[in-house]
Symmetry: C2
Subunit: 356 residues, 2 copies
């Protein structure tokens, strides 16, 4: 029940350990096609360029920026936690000029601030984190397409902790580039990053003036392995794809709406219980992220000691704070298969026993 | 029996499917330490900066170049197959000026050619492929340290298809940066890339003038997660590390020398059998790579049809040719757990039945 990896269902672990086959084996290629089809359903998109990158979520972040940005491009980046800051750092390393829109940690980004910044000049990319894993804030993405259009930008979204737990709705929201990770609400082990590019983003990629700085993350090349040519780029992580395929099947068997409702219900139950224990939830109710709850560590309580005790006595992991919340808050995850009434009850019992 | 992934032993698949735990869980961190220790043994090095990158072998290649090269640096790259060509492309994308030393595909690089090129100017890096997976050539690395010293260069080596099947001897050979993959002679599924940097390479990394262009592959940051700080960088691919840990245990249980001898013996047996079938091996005996054998496709034989038949009738995968050898040669792998007398016999029987 940390900020990921979440619990992995037995069916996914079994798929993971199927005998390894070749990355050009017809059986594997069919499974890869099915994986892409299911990813499109979970992202709610028709984007052709939708695939799992052979890296963790941060590799998906780098994929989006390094393919879309060229040296000298301008990027407008929203920062209200660790991962917004990381996006800015990655964009700078692509040689882009970065304009930041900040919000205090624990708050959502104010779209009016973004709209204002977007009036100052044109941008190649506007980037925002949908589900800030460092603070447990869910960003309302609805205003962003219009803002991106106002300054001619592509809309780039971090959906690492939302995909599979909260609706992402790529096409309806007009998102141009989005990345996620497998180890959060998809409940697959960490190691892959689902990514999706709109037609418009694919077009921008195809008319770049410079080569993509990263050969490993170059979607021009990777797209040819996932496309009809099946052109070798790198050896696909075969067993991890087996696992993701099964994890996506589980997501779709449950149904997206039912899965999102389960995440909301369990988060509500956890939060009621935490407040009943007298614990404070720093994030405003209106922008709380169902899969991840930020809890203020009460005065006088030893952060590391409580977490070590939960792990030793209850086999329960919760996350420490990151960045501005380091030592000040815990992060409790209810992601994918971990979002159950049993886990909520276990966590509340364990915390009650551990707190003075 | 293609050019990788190789067969994965049951013990490794079982480790792969252990329940996922947190990437900061003390149990996991201990296992990560052990993985580094075992990687040092297999690389035959004391290098502190020895770790598995969260990407496939090509990601390891990018890691080595992007950390060592800055825009404007000069790199001397040996190219005698696909992977030498890929190194040149990756180095160029790092902004480096690349000087190439070529050898015909199927031959080794002539060290005299490299020494001559190294007299023309100083270089930041000399890069060479130890085991060219596209041709089945094993490069003698012994002359390279002195050549690198003659022009002030770091020595960078691709050991993707040698590590665990052929001695790599990082410290004895004076290699400064080396990368491999898990899915070849280590017989672990694809998805991780073991990398090792010498003190000298780590020093060059620490005094860069520019930030490493890739945030995901930045060893300055990743080293802090693997170091005492355990500073979060990205979520480690926990289950893949479980698998690599077990694969390395198997390598060391067998013993490196015994494992290398097994690779040589099975390769010899395969080659005798192939020649007895009247098949031609284009690579000179003196530079043949035990884990991978290049076989010329006889005139009038349909490449794709034979490979499809082997797969359908014998469950046997062999590799097609790459680059200059596309449609002209097959690549038969005897890597890690796949290098057995049973596999040699199966392959020879199946080929005999399939050929006219």
């Amino acid at each position: 029940m940390g900020p990921g990896p979440s619990d992995v269902p037995t069916r996914v672990l079994q798929a993971l350990s199927r005998p390894t086959i070749g990355h050009l084996d017809p059986v594997f290629l069919e499974l890869l096609d099915e994986t892409q089809t299911m990813l499109r359903q979970v992202f709610a998109t028709d984007n052709a360029l939708t695939l799992p990158m052979s890296a963790t979520g941060s590799g998906g972040m780098e994929t989006c920026f390094v393919n879309l940005l060229e040296p000298g491009d301008h990027a407008l980046i929203c920062r209200h936690g660790v991962f917004g800051g990381r996006m800015a750092e990655v964009a700078r390393r692509c040689g882009a000029a970065v304009t930041l829109v900040d919000a205090p940690w624990g708050n959502a980004i104010d779209p009016d601030d973004v709209a204002k910044a977007a009036r100052a000049r044109s941008f190649k990319v506007i980037a925002v984190v949908h589900a800030e894993t460092s603070t447990g804030v869910l960003q309302d993405l609805r205003p962003f397409r219009a803002i991106a259009d106002s300054c001619g930008a592509l809309l780039l979204v971090d959906a690492v902790t939302s995909l599979g737990g909260v609706a992402v709705d790529v096409d309806r929201l007009g998102i141009d580039a989005v990345y996620s990770g497998t180890q959060k609400c998809l409940s697959c082990p960490p190691g892959l990053s689902p990514v999706s590019f709109s037609e418009r983003a694919a077009q921008v990629l195809s008319i770049r003036k410079t080569a993509v700085a990263s050969w490993y993350f170059d979607l021009n090349l990777i797209g040819k392995y996932f496309g009809a040519e099946r052109l070798y780029h790198h050896t696909a992580p075969v067993n991890m794809i087996f696992a993701l395929h099964e994890a996506l099947r589980l997501v779709l068997e449950e149904g997206l709406e039912a899965r999102f409702a389960r995440h909301r219900q369990q988060a509500d139950a956890l939060r009621r219980g935490l407040e009943a224990l007298g614990l404070e939830l720093p994030v405003d109710r209106a922008v709380r992220l169902p899969p991840l709850t930020l809890v203020r560590i009460p005065k006088g309580v030893d952060d590391a000691k409580v977490r070590a005790q939960l792990l030793a006595e209850h086999g329960l992991e919760i996350g420490g704070g990151l960045g501005n919340f380091k030592g000040k808050a815990w992060r409790i995850g209810l992601m994918g298969a971990s979002a159950t009434p049993e886990n909520v009850a276990l966590c509340l019992r364990a915390l009650e026993a551990a707190l003075p």
